[in-house]
Amino acid sequence: MKRGLITWDISEIQPAAFEQRLQNIRRVMSENQVPCIVVYSDVWRSNSARFLSNYMPYFNRALLIIPSDQHVTLLCGLSPRAYGWIRSVSPIEDVRPAGNYAQTLMQMATERRWTRIGILDFPQFPYDLNQSIQSLPIEIVKVGGLPPFSDDTELSMRRKAASMARSLLAAEIPLGVGCSGEELIGRLERRSRRAGAGDLITLVTNGRSTPGAATGHRLDENFSVSIALEYRGHWVRVSRAHGVDFSSQLLLENQANSIVENLSGSYPYECVQRSELREDSIFAVHIERQIGAKRLFYGDSFLLGPSGPELL
């Protein structure tokens, strides 16, 4: 389900955190000499806009417009009937309808006499939106290559998500032998969503393949589960096997068969080479171990800190 509970709890993320984040992005504007920065968001690629505004679409696309000297505006594909809800889950007050995003963006630029606009990660925009914005009679400054969005609040939320994911698997995996993959997934859904998770994607394997969608088979000893869990827009990845303990240290050794996923990009997770990670990146590593005839999987989420990886 994309998505379940979306909320803004100011005891977790104080308004000042968003103000500080906007201040930081306004410094980027100043360096690039642009009067605003445009940030793309959709159901699946909401990390950047979520960091800056707590807005996470449950459907459709959105553009977050951050001017250097005015309040933030959300151009939104949802009905105005949803604007009250949007304002209740984010500090955004100015929400505008955008059937045609490029046209609405141009209208705003004209009203505010902007002759150039900064766009975050413009080459990664959906092709149609990229092309329609590119055809606007305005100078576009591509803003990219920024360090991963990170601060203490972000790390605290990611740690909370990681802790939730680990507890979830620790509680449910011991009960999984003899269940079907679907039954286990159902239990994980119930427990995680009742604890406030916004989304959960679960892959399982009985040890004869890599983790994948459940296939109706009963789970034997030494099955593995790999989850992507979203807590209030903060994604983590954790994999665990039944009946076998691994050390998280194993994940950090440069193993040939390990999989590294970047969790700091625009997607919730995306495979990368280890060498592509930068300081402050949130990432996950998954490894595979053969025990007897079984293939077991283990993985967790980390921060790449100044002195190396730290388990979240």
Partner: protein, 360 residues
């Protein structure tokens, strides 16, 4: 896993359009173009299937676990890359001198596209609009699960429960029974409620209208059901309001058949509201659409709106849902998944067509 009937349709369309290769792109939110040929629920975030005129299929995925699963289960050349842009450009360069079109082009990251590109999105969407027998079977099973899911919704809801707790129970129920996904919205309260959205912390109260849209997915295909429930005894206004929705939805069901225009399927629903003096509540200020097609995406074209021009054909599967705000009782929803038959349409689900009441 390969939709062989769709593959033949795509090959024929390629010949007619003069394309040597057709690329079907999917990402985690919109897997539908990819899955219309290769019905595999990839972990993601990207996947493409390239179909050549000779019928060969080349698949590129962005997670190694997807590669292993797919390689074992499909007769195609499957590759994995952690650098999807370069992987995609390499595939494109293979067909450098050929004419290539992309379904889902509009959804792709712009940096994946090197130079001018031809979109096959509308063509593939038009083919997908008419379901194969196998697809209708998947949609029927999804509709049966939606029935069970709504029964569970009614059984589980109670005064004092939070919306997100109910959503957790329903999600768990559906996934336990094999749903690969579920698109669900909810709303609760009274005349102050203008629509549905994701679940919140709000606790159900006596007298609430509780609206929901459940869209469980089976084998990639989403069915949908919309129902309204009242916590406790419904008021006269709630009963009157529901009767309008019931009649509007029935009007669509009675009217729907091959050859009619979707604009008229919307109009017959709106006419019921107009006749009752609520015509202004059929516009975009209070509602979105009067229904839409269903399939590998829970919100497919065409939309049922009076300004959409599209002819209904046998084999289409859609939901007619006259969901809107009325001042009588706030936002209300009511709708069922329908398959268009030779002479009319049939409901794929069996949930009673009534205003549900939860005794409190």
């Amino acid at each position: 896993m390969i939709n062989s009937q769709r593959k033949q349709q795509l090959l024929k369309a390629m010949v007619e359009s003069g394309w040597d290769a057709l690329i079907l792109y999917g990402h985690s939110w919109r897997k539908d173009y990819f899955r219309s040929l290769v019905n595999f629920n990839f972990f993601g975030p990207h996947a493409i299937a390239t179909l050549t005129r000779s019928g060969e299929i080349f698949i590129l995925v962005s997670h190694p676990w997807d590669k292993e699963t797919l390689s074992k289960s499909v007769d195609a050349n499957v590759q994995y890359t952690s650098d999807f842009r370069n992987g995609f450009l390499e595939i494109s360069s293979k067909f450098k001198i050929a004419r290539v079109a992309i379904a889902g082009l509009e959804l792709m990251e712009a940096r994946f596209v090197d130079g001018p590109a031809v979109s096959a999105t509308n063509l593939v969407e038009a083919l997908r609009k008419i379901k194969t027998a196998e697809e209708i079977d998947a949609l029927r099973r999804a509709a049966q699960l939606a029935d069970l899911g709504y029964q569970h919704f009614v059984k589980t809801i109670e005064v004092g429960m939070a919306e997100f707790e109910l959503a957790a129970e329903v999600e768990s129920f559906l996934k336990t029974r094999g749903a690969g996904d579920n698109f669900m919205l909810i709303g609760s309260g009274g005349v102050e409620v203008y629509g549905m959205r994701p679940p919140t912390h709000r606790h159900f109260q006596i007298g609430d209208n509780v609206t929901t849209e459940l869209s469980p997915q089976i084998d990639g295909y989403y069915s949908q059901i919309c129902r309204t429930l009242v916590m406790g005894n419904p008021s006269e206004k709630q009963l009157r309001s529901f009767e309008i929705f019931r009649e509007a939805q029935q009007a669509a069901e009675d009217f729907l058949k091959p050859g009619v225009n979707v604009a008229d399927v919307a109009r017959v629903q709106n006419d019921v509201f107009r006749r009752e003096g609520f015509g202004e509540y059929t516009g975009s200020k209070y509602t979105r659409v009067r229904g839409h097609n269903l399939g590998l995406h829970p919100d497919e074209n065409p939309y049922l709106l009076e300004d959409v021009d599209s002819i209904v054909e046998k084999g289409m599967v859609l939901i007619a849902h006259p969901n809107t705000y009325l001042p009588l009782s706030g936002y209300m929803v009511f709708g069922d998944t329908l398959v268009v038959t030779e002479n009319g349409c049939k409901r794929l689900g069996q949930t009673e067509k009534k205003l549900f009441i939860k005794e409190v």
